[in-house]
């Protein structure tokens, strides 16, 4: 049950020829796949393509109608291996993931796939997680395309172009017997636009057909001598075929411009922002007519030398706009120019920064310099100050605008666990903590500030391997349930058993792949008509041979502290595994809220809990916040005229998860927290009880109020 539902949007996947499709880039990609007669689809969620997986999941019925097989793959490696179906059969397949991290995981299968070559079109849709909003190390997918000889599409970030890229991607793949990567940047994945739909196509050839008459070709097996033949084939046949296809079908665009003796070569994906930058410099109009000739690379690998030569011929200088590093395209370009003995000056990195996202602002500066150098006559006086960035007193601002690091959501089940870890380290002193990818990565940020390294999804336990020296402190590894099923079970737990590790691995089980948007995973508890959930992590861990296994509910801090202490002190040798469970609060609220509302409306007795802080006993030290960091636990002005420090305050977003009380207890904090149990549709007994209480308590309260009034200054 994903965080975002596309149940409504997916209906537009049924649109027929001529209808106008409106929606997110991600949704358009799905529609394009159906229009291309794709036979099977797989992938692994992760920003920026999480929504693509969510759309596919919500579209499962439509896919089934069309005879399209969809899998929420166990990992990117699984998804990539799925493409094997296109090696022997004319089956079109597509997979998707977050890149470059997902491509790293998939590399083994991808390299083999690229070597074997494909009969049916194989499309890999990668969400390039680069620049603002990215959550991973900053690298390029481009390198993978080069090293395995796969083709890389980088279309203009407009829906019609993205859709065309999907359709042409399959054709290119089939024409060159090579898997094709389609790269979409973060903003392109989320861009809202429109395009004219075509009819969906049932796959002409199905998996059933394949199984009915299996075809086998030893030339497609990854063993010598086939592998040598495959390498030759890549160079002598597939590569030239690809270059021919790109050239003949004019996948790249050459555009004339009045300043014909200079030119700009750019990745298709940067088109809109480059055009905006040119417009701001008065070198293009609103409709994309540039006064400088453009060469748009909608295919960034392989390049087409003849096109380059044609574009650069007679030009004094050409600027290559290529985001990220190393500058593969620019390097290739210089070789092309050299071989064609062209004297055109080649500019790129240097005028533009070597690293970092190419925002319009960055592009504007680079282009201004390029045009200023080579075609100053193009630069009219700029259209008034509104075009230049305003001057802001930076120093002053830095003080006024505190950073807002990401953190765990309101009521997050992982919060109490890390609060327990913080309390534990007050006893043990600082521990070495090998962190992992997932919501729990946020524990490396304030207020928890714990975790010494992150090695990749599901690799938390593996990341602690070198520390099992036997004797001395035990290292602690953290892993999420998502990472556990992705690979952690083998790479981490199995490895720890086999190598007789002695440390502790905590598997935080929030029941979903929460950080990527709450998608279901093998251990998800709630009914899912398309998947088999409820597979126990505990059983899996015991299954690979861990003897010391404990289960704790994260919200039970004392219990969690107890098992943590035990894990670090027990004389038992061998890996210790604690499964700390608590359901992702976002998913839980989505599930529980409507039910509670329904119950209340139906007049059933319901108790809703939430927390509060008494302002007259809170002294404004904020220890509670330092142990929690819950968004709903905040501060407000101190109502006490004698005190100056703001007091803690629980706002209305509180979901009553109970952590505030637990922390107040476990950390021996202050008595200011209270829990209110709001009662809806009370029973007659509730009312009787309430009346009795009101009588007794009210009486005593009135009495003491009167006493106080005797001394009013």
């Amino acid at each position: 049950m994903a965080e975002r539902s596309f149940a409504k949007e997916v209906q537009s996947l049924r649109l027929g020829a001529g209808a106008e499709f409106r929606g997110e880039g991600i949704l358009a990609v799905t529609k394009a796949l159906l229009q291309s007669g794709v036979g099977y689809v797989g992938g692994y969620q992760g920003a920026p393509i999480s929504h693509l997986m969510d759309v596919l999941t919500d579209a499962e019925d439509i896919l089934t109608e069309l005879g399209v097989h969809f899998e929420a793959s166990a990992s990117e490696a699984t998804a990539a291996a799925m493409l094997a179906a296109s090696i022997n059969y004319p089956l079109r397949g597509a997979v998707t993931w977050k890149s470059t991290v997902g491509t790293n995981v998939a590399s083994d299968a991808l390299a083999n796939l690229a070597s074997a070559g494909v009969r049916g079109g194989a499309l890999i849709i990668v969400g390039e997680d680069y620049g603002e909003g990215a959550s991973i190390m900053q690298e390029r997918t481009h390198a993978f395309a080069m090293k395995s000889q796969m083709w890389l599409l980088d279309p203009r970030p407009q829906l019609p172009e993205i859709v065309r890229a999907v359709e042409q991607g399959f054709e290119l793949s089939e024409a060159s017997h090579t898997p094709v990567m389609l790269m979409l940047r973060i903003r392109a994945c989320h861009v809202y636009g429109r395009f004219t739909a075509k009819d969906n196509r049932r796959p002409p050839f199905s998996a059933a057909d394949a199984l009915a008459s299996p075809s086998r070709d030893y030339g497609r097996i990854i063993l010598p001598p086939s592998t040598y033949a495959q390498e030759r084939e890549k160079i002598e046949q597939r590569f030239p075929a690809a270059v021919r296809f790109v050239a003949e079908r004019q996948l790249n665009e050459l555009r004339e411009g009045e300043a014909s003796d200079i030119g700009i070569v750019l990745q298709g994906g940067l088109y809109n922002n480059v055009l905006r930058a040119l417009e701001l410099l008065d070198c293009a109009d609103t409709f994309g007519t540039s006064r400088v000739p453009l060469y748009l690379l909608n295919v960034t690998y392989p390049l087409v030398p003849e096109e380059w030569a044609r574009f650069c011929a007679g030009k004094r200088a050409v600027l290559v706009i290529e985001e990220g590093q190393p500058e593969f395209i620019e390097q290739a370009a210089s070789q092309i120019l050299r071989k064609h003995e062209l004297s055109t000056a080649l500019l790129g990195k240097g005028l533009l920064p070597m690293h970092g996202e190419y925002t319009v602002d960055v592009l504007r500066r680079g282009l201004a310099e390029f045009i200023g150098q080579w075609a100053p006559e193009l630069r009219r006086t700029s259209r008034g100050p509104a075009r230049e960035a305003p001057l802001v007193p930076v120093g002053q601002l830095a003080k006024l605008v505190p950073p807002r690091p990401s953190g765990l959501c309101t009521g997050c089940p992982e919060r109490p666990f890390f609060a327990a870890m913080k309390l534990l380290q007050r006893e043990t002193g600082p521990l070495h903590i090998s962190a992992d990818i997932g919501c729990h990565s946020f524990a490396t940020l304030p207020p928890f500030n714990m975790g010494n390294s992150i090695m990749g999804y599901g690799l938390g336990a593996a990341g602690a391997s070198a520390f099992h020296t036997g004797g001395g402190r035990r290292p602690v590894a953290v892993m999420g349930d998502g990472g556990f099923w992705h690979n952690g079970l083998t790479s981490g737990i199995g490895n720890a058993v086999f190598n007789r590790h002695d440390g502790l691995t905590v598997i935080i089980d929030n029941n979903y792949s929460a950080a990527t948007g709450g998608q279901d995973i093998p251990s998800s508890r709630w009914p899912n008509e398309h998947r088999q959930g409820n597979n126990s992590i505990l059983d899996a861990v015991r299954g690979v041979g861990v003897k010391w296994v404990r289960h704790t509910r994260t919200y039970d801090i004392p219990q969690t502290l107890k098992v943590l202490r035990e894990a670090l002190t027990t004389p038992v040798r061998g890996p210790k595994v604690i499964v700390a469970e608590g359901e992702c609060q976002l998913n839980r609220q989505r599930r529980v809220r409507p039910l509670m509302k329904k119950a209340i409306d139906e007049g059933r007795r319901v108790v809703r809990e939430r927390f509060g802080v008494d302002p007259d006993t809170c002294t404004g030290d904020h220890s509670c916040i330092r142990l929690s960091g819950c968004p709903s636990l905040t501060v407000r002005p101190n109502p006490d005229p004698l005190r100056t420090d703001p007091i803690a305050h629980v706002d209305n977003s509180c979901v009553g998860c109970g952590v505030c009380g637990e922390v107040a207890h476990a950390a021996v904090l202050c008595p200011s927290f209270y829990r209110a149990e709001l009662l809806y549709n009370p029973s007659w007994w509730d009312r009787v009880l309430a009346r009795v209480r009101a009588a007794v308590i009210g009486g005593l309260q009135r009495h003491s109020d009167r006493k106080r009034l005797r001394f009013a200054l």
Binding site: R187, Y271, V401, S406, T634, D645
Partner: protein, 531 residues
């Protein structure tokens, strides 16, 4: 000049419905024959961080004339944004920081409410950013500023902030769309239409009026000392106490009155008298030794009578230290029950239970016992051990009869408070503090003032309280050294701040190290919640 797209940038926090707002805007634009492109950068930001949504609008009519569609950018460009919408004040600041708000171009629509960042919240004292300063900057930076507490408006109408934002956009007139189109979009979404429309209308009106009300951050309400001092005590019997307050120097009267009231509320009139005795002791000293500033003699400004003022404040807080008796007393009051009802939004006659989380440790229990017995308990490992095993976390349900009676009885121990171990300890500490102040005042007035202010370090319960007391004692220990230096007061002030920089006392240790090294340059204190 050729037609250019209208550019609009929304900075919203996770869960504030920036996505919904964007969908509404798309709906409206298309209904009003405009091409619209939107995109966003959520990523990990959707987890409590800020998400940026960016939209461009372009009239279909122009497209039809030109026969071509415009190329729209996927991100806002500094100086080229027509309207920035920030659903929270600091996010408005961040937009300014990114250069998106331009003096001659950009309308800034922002909510003045604050959602505090973790660094601000978890500071050990006052850590909030200066809202007033930011609002001032917004005024100067934006071509036009529309600013009001949109969260509050949403609350008033039981709606969500996204409909308030939509209303403000409509009212600002930055988009060439009719109000009907805006309202139609809300209706079409079909979710809590009535409340959303109400919030929308309210916000729209405020934007049309051009509201730019400011609001302050979580600073203290304490600053107002000019409060009027009554002529007569509400209970005639206490008139003598009031007269004593009125005889004090004007700038400290309000504080002293509050202090005296607090002392009565905490114990009894005699206790208030004891409080005033101490304040008078200091004010006499202040009268004699305070540096004569040629300020208006009626003494409006805070520096006047600085010593008496800081003592009056600190002493009141210290003398009403939060022991178990006090906590029980406060928790059982009718006023508190009413406050909780309001706080948790319980209906006028809705039933609700209150559960307290108390974890008295042996120390607190012993502190509540008669001095001799308390001391004996602490001294005897076996007894305190026995007690320790019984002091688990207590859940006390205050509005059940049993729970209430327990706390009520505990609060009733007040009449024996003067005999308790904790009371006797705290009084000794208070006297020591005052003696040190009295000794310093004649020769080192400013240092004495800083020492008086340092009382702020002693707050909280259990370990928090102990930490505070440790830091305070450390400062006391340095007094003699500080008395020997010209900048003693300044250094003490710095130590005071350092003590509040981190829980582990790293910053304080660093400052002390410098002190012993004879160096008085401040060290950069590393705040643990601000990596």
């Amino acid at each position: 000049m050729t037609q250019r797209p209208i550019k609009l940038c929304v900075a919203a926090l996770g869960g504030q419905g920036g996505g919904v707002l964007t969908e509404w805007l798309i709906e409206i634009a298309e209904a009003q024959r405009h091409l619209v492109q939107s995109t966003s950068v959520p990523g990990v930001a959707q987890r409590t961080g800020a998400t940026i949504y960016y939209l461009e609008f372009f009239p279909k009519a122009v497209v039809e004339r030109a026969g071509r569609e415009p190329v729209m950018a996927l991100m806002p460009v500094p100086g080229d944004v027509d309207c920035v919408i920030a659903s929270e004040l600091i996010e408005a600041g961040r937009a300014i920081q990114r250069g998106l708000v331009h003096r001659e171009r950009t309308t800034l629509i922002a909510s003045s409410h604050r959602s505090y960042s973790i660094a601000e919240k978890s500071a050990m004292g006052q850590g909030a950013a200066d809202s007033a300063g930011l609002i001032e900057l917004a005024r100067t930076q934006a071509k036009r500023l529309i600013l009001f507490d949109m969260e509050e408006v949403a609350e008033q109408h039981h709606s969500v902030i996204s409909s308030v934002l939509l209303g403000a956009i409509c009212g600002s007139g930055v988009l060439p769309f009719t109000r009907d189109a805006f309202e139609a979009a809300i209706r079409k979404s079909g979710i809590s239409v009535a409340t959303n429309l109400a919030a929308f209308a309210d916000a729209c009106g405020r934007a049309e009026r051009g509201d730019a009300a400011s609001n302050a951050g979580p600073t203290s309400v304490a600053s107002d000392h000019s409060a009027e001092i009554p002529e007569r005590a509400r209970s005639p019997g206490l008139q003598p106490l009031l007269d004593r307050v009125r005889r004090l120097p004007k700038p400290v009267q309000a504080l002293a009155l509050e202090g005296a009231r607090r002392a009565i509320d905490y114990q009894d009139p005699a206790y208030a008298a004891a409080y005033l005795d101490r304040v008078e002791r200091i004010s006499a000293l202040d009268e004699r030794w305070r540096p004569q500033r040629n300020a208006p003699s009626n003494g409006g400004d805070g520096n006047e009578w600085a010593l008496t003022a800081s003592v009056a404040r600190g002493l009141a807080l210290w003398m009403t230290f939060e022991d178990t008796i006090r906590v029980a007393d406060l928790k059982t009051r009718a006023a508190r029950f009413a406050r909780v009802r309001a706080e948790v939004r319980a209906g006028p006659d809705q039933l609700f239970g209150i559960t307290e989380f108390m974890k008295p440790r042996v120390a607190e229990i012993a502190g509540t016992l008669p001095a001799a017995m308390g001391a004996w308990v602490l001294a005897s490992p076996s007894v305190s051990g026995w007690l320790g095993r019984r002091t688990g976390g207590k859940h006390i349900r205050t509005n059940t009869v049993s729970g209430f009676l327990l706390l009520h009885a505990l609060g009733g121990l007040k009449r024996w408070r003067r005999g308790t171990l904790r009371y006797i300890e705290e009084n000794a500490r208070i006297e020591e503090w005052l003696r040190r102040i009295e000794r310093l005042a004649p020769t080192h007035y400013d240092l004495a003032v800083e020492l008086a202010r340092a009382q702020r370090l002693i707050k909280g319960y259990g370990e928090t309280h102990e930490r505070g007391w440790r830091s305070f004692s450390t400062l006391l220990g340095e007094l003699d050294t500080l008395a020997t230096r010209a900048d003693g007061a300044a250094v003490l002030a710095r130590l005071h701040e350092a003590a509040l920089a981190d829980e582990e006392g790293k910053a304080l240790a660093a400052e002390l190290a410098l002190l012993t090294a004879g160096n008085s340059q401040p060290v950069a204190t590393t705040n643990p919640v601000n990596p």
